[in-house]
């Protein structure tokens, strides 16, 4: 039975019973081992994991530049934190708010894996424009879902289902998952200095040492709006950048990843650049103007977009070669108004006769909708 690489739609319902690469190569749940000694945890957004080449690298610092007009960085942060909770990974959350604990109530629940979703995902992987028609009538029983798709990419996606979840942003995470979980919350709003947060991070990370083999628990640090103007330490530019530098050094030698969002516009250009240089992975959010007729004409699917995500830097282990992505600007969309997807920008046809757009095949979620022309 030819399982590997087959992209045909006539899938057999059996696939080679090769060991599930994710589960076997990671001793801890939610950690994926990559080449070159790299270990990844999921960002909580499967598309982002794929774009970044596996996920967030353990031992790296991810920085997200916020857009002052839209709170989409919170979507990314929530998915990141929820993923950690789902995988029972220790979490340290710090935010420029009075009661960070309350933020936990906004964490999304994983999309309940229904037959429909499993099929939808596998069909998306098959990625041919007529893929949607053939298998719609086929109802696959749940226990055979794992044999889905002899397409290696579909299989990979299936495995990734354990590594990363789709989150339903409309449904809050169940309370019982949060209770009894190793979640620490620190408020930085009323702090005069960042030394309190630094001490919390030090003690948090000391329990997560890094060892080759990657079979230890991975931890997550999420810091929201680090240089928010309402924080009392806001004026202390050098203290802030010094904190990031120390955090980076600590994270580097630990089995964790830190995600820091910050409103880049409130920093001076010089310090903003310093922060950017310190990031291992650098992302930025850009708002999308509502009802922009020019953009609507230029891009397909403009109405569904909630913003842009730009990838400036991607973390690498032990390599001097920069990661050049095929597309560094992606659109943020809410699929079915609940889960976050990232798609490459596709230019709409200038006039109706210039042929089909590449939207369906190059976007990472099966878009389904065809342009009529």
């Amino acid at each position: 039975m030819a399982a590997a690489g087959g992209r045909t739609l006539g899938r057999s319902s059996f696939s080679r019973a090769t060991s599930n690469p994710v589960a076997s190569s990671s001793g801890a749940s939610g950690v994926k081992i990559g080449p070159n000694g790299a270990a990844f945890v999921s960002s909580g957004i499967p598309d982002l994991d794929r774009i970044l080449g596996g996920g967030f690298l353990l031992g790296s610092v991810v920085m997200i530049m916020e857009d002052a007009d839209v709170p989409h960085h919170l979507l990314l942060l929530r998915c990141f934190m929820s993923q950690g909770v789902v995988h029972k990974q220790p979490l340290l959350f710090s935010g420029a708010m009075k009661e960070p604990r309350l933020f936990l109530g906004t964490l999304p629940a994983p999309v309940s894996s229904s037959k429909e979703d499993g099929r939808y995902r596998a069909m998306g992987a098959a990625a041919s424009s007529d893929g949607q028609a053939n298998d719609e009538g086929l109802r696959i029983a749940w226990q055979y879902k794992k044999y889905f798709g002899d397409d290696s990419r579909a299989e990979h996606k299936d495995n990734k289902q354990e590594f990363s979840n789709d989150f339903d942003l409309r449904k809050p995470l169940e309370r019982h998952l949060l209770n009894g979980q190793n979640i620490e919350c620190v408020s930085i709003q009323d702090a005069d200095t960042l030394s309190g947060l630094q001490d919390c991070c030090t003690s948090f990370l000391s329990k997560l040492p890094r060892k080759d083999g990657g079979s230890l628990t991975a931890g997550r640090i999420a810091i929201q709006s680090l240089c928010a103007p309402q924080c009392r330490y806001f004026e202390k530019d050098w203290d802030m950048v010094s904190f990031i530098r120390s955090l980076k050094a600590m994270v580097r030698s630990s089995n964790s990843v830190a995600v820091i969002t910050f409103p880049s516009t409130v920093l001076s250009n010089s310090f903003c650049k310093r922060w950017q240089h310190l990031a291992d992975t650098l992302l930025s959010i850009k708002a999308i103007p509502d009802e922009d007729k020019d953009l609507a004409k230029l891009l397909t699917g403009y109405q569904d977009m909630v913003g842009f995500l730009r990838v400036h830097k991607v973390a690498q282990t032990n390599s001097q070669v920069p990661v050049i992505l095929e597309a560094s600007t992606l659109s943020l969309k809410l699929r079915k108004r609940r889960s976050l997807v990232l798609e490459r920008l596709n230019q709409a046809p200038v006039d109706g006769s210039s042929g089909p757009s590449s939207a369906a095949s190059s976007s990472c979620s099966s878009q389904g909708s065809q342009l009529d022309f």
């Binding site: 050098w238 203290d239 950048v241 010089s270 240089h277 001097q320």
Partner: protein, 249 residues
């Protein structure tokens, strides 16, 4: 700088006998690969080096240079390479003032340079700093302390047959009134190597452009020697390719 292992555009541009090399880069075009190359060349010609690493731990440089054919662990064991792991280097607070920590660091470097010079196999010594912008963070913004430290290191180059290579992020100082550190480094440099992105954006085959300004040519009697070089580069795991624009297929 020796031309050993050269034969590429960068060695040609750098010439020889540069005492102070300043490497500038920005977020879009990181210049660490130049440091890796210069470190490899410094160690290859039986030289010795002191590497001040503020940006990455030793394991990172070890793996990167290993892929380039240079075994840092071996050189460290043979005391050809003196590696200062300064990831957690604290400027002040506990061990005294910022100036004190810098003085201690400088003293160690000076000791190494003198020991190298006095030894039987006196060889070219290179001090590499990755990077100067982080030195400022360590000093919590006290540019004077950083300048003092760098000036002492600079003095070593003229007195003790030593070369200084410093990486600095020029985009941090782009529109600042206090461009102090960058201007100062540019002034004392014999060679300024600047990595910048292509104006046309990202490309898989060309990672950026390198401009090399060789001020040291004034010392040599080669009046017609080229002083400014511009070419493209592509960073690979085992080294970097340098080529003139349009000469890659």
């Amino acid at each position: 700088m020796e031309e050993y292992g050269g034969g590429d555009l960068l060695s040609e541009a750098m010439g020889s006998a540069a005492r102070v090399v300043v490497v500038e880069d920005c977020v879009e075009a990181p210049g660490a690969f130049v440091l890796h190359l210069l470190l490899k060349r410094a160690l290859a010609s039986c030289g010795a080096a002191a590497f001040l690493a503020l940006a990455q731990p030793f394991s990172h440089y070890d793996r990167v240079l290993r892929k380039m054919g240079c075994n840092l662990s071996l050189h460290r064991r043979n005391e050809r390479l003196h590696f200062f792991e300064l990831l957690g280097f604290r400027g002040g607070a506990r061990e005294g003032t910022i100036a004190d920590s810098f003085v201690r660091l400088y003293n160690e470097i000076q000791r190494l340079v003198e020991a190298n010079r006095a030894g039987e196999n006196a060889s070219q010594f290179t001090v590499v700093i990755d990077d100067a912008s982080l030195l400022e963070v360590v000093a919590l913004g006290s540019v004077n302390d950083v300048l003092n430290f760098l000036h002492y290191c600079f003095a070593l180059t003229s007195e003790m047959n030593c070369t200084l290579v410093v990486l600095i992020h020029e985009d941090i100082y782009a529109d600042e009134e206090k461009m102090g550190l960058l201007l100062h480094l540019r002034y004392i440099a014999d060679l300024v190597i600047k990595a910048a992105p292509l104006s046309t954006g990202l490309a898989a085959d060309v990672h950026g452009q390198l401009s090399v300004v060789n001020k040291g040519t004034f010392r040599e009697q080669k009046a017609k020697a080229q002083k400014v070089w511009n070419f493209h580069f592509k960073v690979k795991e085992n080294g970097t390719d340098f080529f003139y624009p349009g000469t890659r297929h």
